[in-house]
């Protein structure tokens, strides 16, 4: 029996050679157990070692290997070729980011935004380690567990039309992480963090399209988190207007 094959149409971008991206079609052997990343690795190992992309864990947790597959942002390690009906399969770098080379995009903008939401526990006073952990019930953990599952894969930014239009927007993952820390009973950094996100290009810019939550491979639901953040920020604003002198 002849070996089955599949065609991949991969967007290439080689800034040292040309300013223009182009598409290259590769025809490679196909097996039912192959994911898109396996196909890219087959190309790199056996057809074209110049094809450039990021990957590491190939189990959907390191967040390196995002790309647009048939126009939808996905982890390439999590999409089976057998589930892709149309050929050739088009693979492009994640949208809304500057492309560095082939499928590799520049995510420095997210790294800056992550820093802005202060994604760490802030406390007025630290409890000495010798006195043990901060007690938390499982229910308290569950208040932020979902948002703590973000793998920073950037699929949500790639899917977000607001970010695509204006990259000053704080965006889904960074907002979700802000929410994650605000909801953590160990944290006391609420005011500083809300001040950082409730700005013109912060959460208010979100128009609740919800695509971020649709494409999220870890069900983090950034769109839901942003709505919650808006409510928290509005409450804080109301309180500050109504009770200027009272404790907030």
């Amino acid at each position: 029996m002849a070996e089955k094959t599949i065609q991949l149409r991969v967007m290439r971008y080689r800034p040292e050679r040309s300013d223009d991206p182009f598409y290259q079609v590769y025809t490679i052997p196909y097996r039912d157990d192959m994911v898109v990343l396996d196909a890219l690795n087959y190309i790199k190992d056996h057809v074209d070692p110049t094809l450039t992309y990021r990957w590491s864990c190939r189990m959907g947790i390191c967040g390196s290997c995002g790309a647009n597959i048939e126009g939808t942002p996905k982890l390439t390690c999590s999409v089976f070729l057998r589930d892709l009906r149309r050929q050739p399969v088009t693979i492009e770098p994640l949208a809304n980011f500057p492309i560095l080379k082939d499928l590799i995009v520049d995510i420095e903008d997210f790294m800056d935004k992550l820093l802005r939401v202060k994604p760490y526990i802030i406390r007025e006073k630290e409890k000495p380690l010798e006195r043990g952990e901060y007690r938390q019930t499982q229910e308290e953990v569950d208040m932020f567990r979902q948002q703590s599952l973000c793998i920073n894969c950037m699929l949500c930014y790639s899917a977000c039309p607001v970010y695509g239009h204006d990259d000053r927007f704080l965006g889904p993952a960074a907002s979700a992480l802000a929410y994650r820390y605000l909801q953590d009973s160990r944290d006391e950094g609420g005011d500083a963090r809300i001040a950082a996100i409730a700005s013109t290009h912060g959460i208010w810019q979100c128009t609740f399209v919800g695509e971020c939550s649709v494409v999220c491979p870890k069900d983090v639901d950034p769109a839901g988190a942003i709505q919650q953040l808006k409510a928290m920020a509005a409450t804080k604003l109301m309180k500050s207007m109504l009770l200027p002198l009272a404790s907030r």
Partner: protein, 569 residues
Amino acid sequence: MDRLAYDIVIVGGGAAGLRAAIAAAEAHKSLRIVVVSKVYPMRSHTVSAEGGTAAVLRDYDSYDMHAFDTVKGSDFLADQDAVEFFVRRAPLEVIQMDHWGCPWSREPDGRVAVRAFGGMSVKRTVFAADKVGFHMLHTLFQTTLKYESIERLDEWFVTSLFTEGGKIVGVAALDLRSGTIQAIGAKAVILCTGGAGRIYEFTTNGWIKTGDGMALAYRAGVPLKDMEFQQFHPTCLPGTGILITEAARGEGGYLVNKDGERFLKRYVPEKMELGPRDILSRAIMTEIKEGRGIEGPYGPQVHLDLRHLGEDVIERKLPMVRELVREYVGLDPIKEPIPVRPGQHYIMGGIHTDLHGFTGLPGLYAAGEAACVSINGANRLGSNSLSECLVFGAEAGRSAAEYARSLPSTTILNPVTALAKADESRIFDGLLKREGGESLAAVRSEMQHTMEIHFGIYRSAAGLEKGLSGIRAARKRFERVGVRDKDPFFNTELTSTLELDFMLELAEVVAMAALNRKESRGAHSRTDFPKRDDANFLYHSMAIRTGEGPRLESRAVTITKWQPAARVY
């Protein structure tokens, strides 16, 4: 070439590297610290650790119990002073992670929860569902963002370590985004680059686990210790090598053969599924060899059965197991058993260090899987490695900080710039321009296949000899590997070539050390020497680089309280 200078350069941004960075930053505010990593830190392979991190936190537990479990698990090759140091420090490190926001799973009273783990005599493995490495890595990474003195060079690949006058003076690194070699002056360097599972064909390790730091230290003259000891995890998904956590057994899962029999009763009747990894992996291989394996699309396997745990326990405590098995096998572990087989998972050996992460070369430190202190000896217990990253990462960070502070501010830049120029020429004029007939992927496959066949769970002189010549042949072929992507900018073919160069060097060390150890101990099982031989081999293997390959020396094992005894479970 830019000239960068720091007090402390940390190579690798996984749990050990990030913990080291924070410890150094807290030791002295004035220190300039940089984490140099070939990937963004949150991509580091710590992210894939699943089951938990061990620490004595309960009244029913004690330091001596944790230490003895670890020493017995190590088949008495661990240094007992290191193990005692480790178990005493692990609890506060786990609490520290809580204070930094790690979403630990909880007991009803709000304390961090503990679960059972292989080779641990009581429940002492702290967890955050079954995404422990992921949560620890992101917690540590996000916490580093608090510290202004911690800088990062993301997607920089360190190519060489530099010494002058017997001291570390810096590193050279390939900045992927500019496609240039940069000189980085440093008073101290901490290597936290993880293991080298990618020297094998079938491994749970990610693509980035290529042993870079081990090879860098070895080339700088530091011995590699106990490299023959490779851990094969009993439960990996056939085909992909994806890890199914030991927590699945800690929570009560069964291993069964084709007759549906819990076969471990013939091997570790007292511990059953909670036996140590080396023994369980051998038991699976024996079942398969004796015809009780289950034929699968990737060869014989056994089953990990979680069905009796029920949906609630699986969803709450093992959500990632369910996610991975559904996605990559197309089965739901609530309804069907999971096909598994052993695969390379961890290297007990690594860069020789003392209790403080010091390698013996002034200014050079190491921690985490890259290092060998040694607390793991011939077989690591599951959930000790994340704690090891915390305890010894922090210790290496503090030691490096103290050392860096003790040095005067000097013009360490000049030698580094000149040395990095030489590296630039080696890589850009040598490797990148090389037009060889050999394919990088073919040579890598040959190395991985050779390691898989000859340096696996069972070993023998004939196979090891054959394997060693195979590795040497692959090294010869490597000299003719050409790089086809000639653009310096973000050249992952070039970094893969550098990685293969590192891995081939390490594979040779593993091979020589395995040949030299004519006994069976822990994860090193020689069919021609089936017994442990304390009279002749109760020592660490120390591999020192020479022009003709590794020279092997031995180093005594430190015994404090526990004399070597038969290892029965």
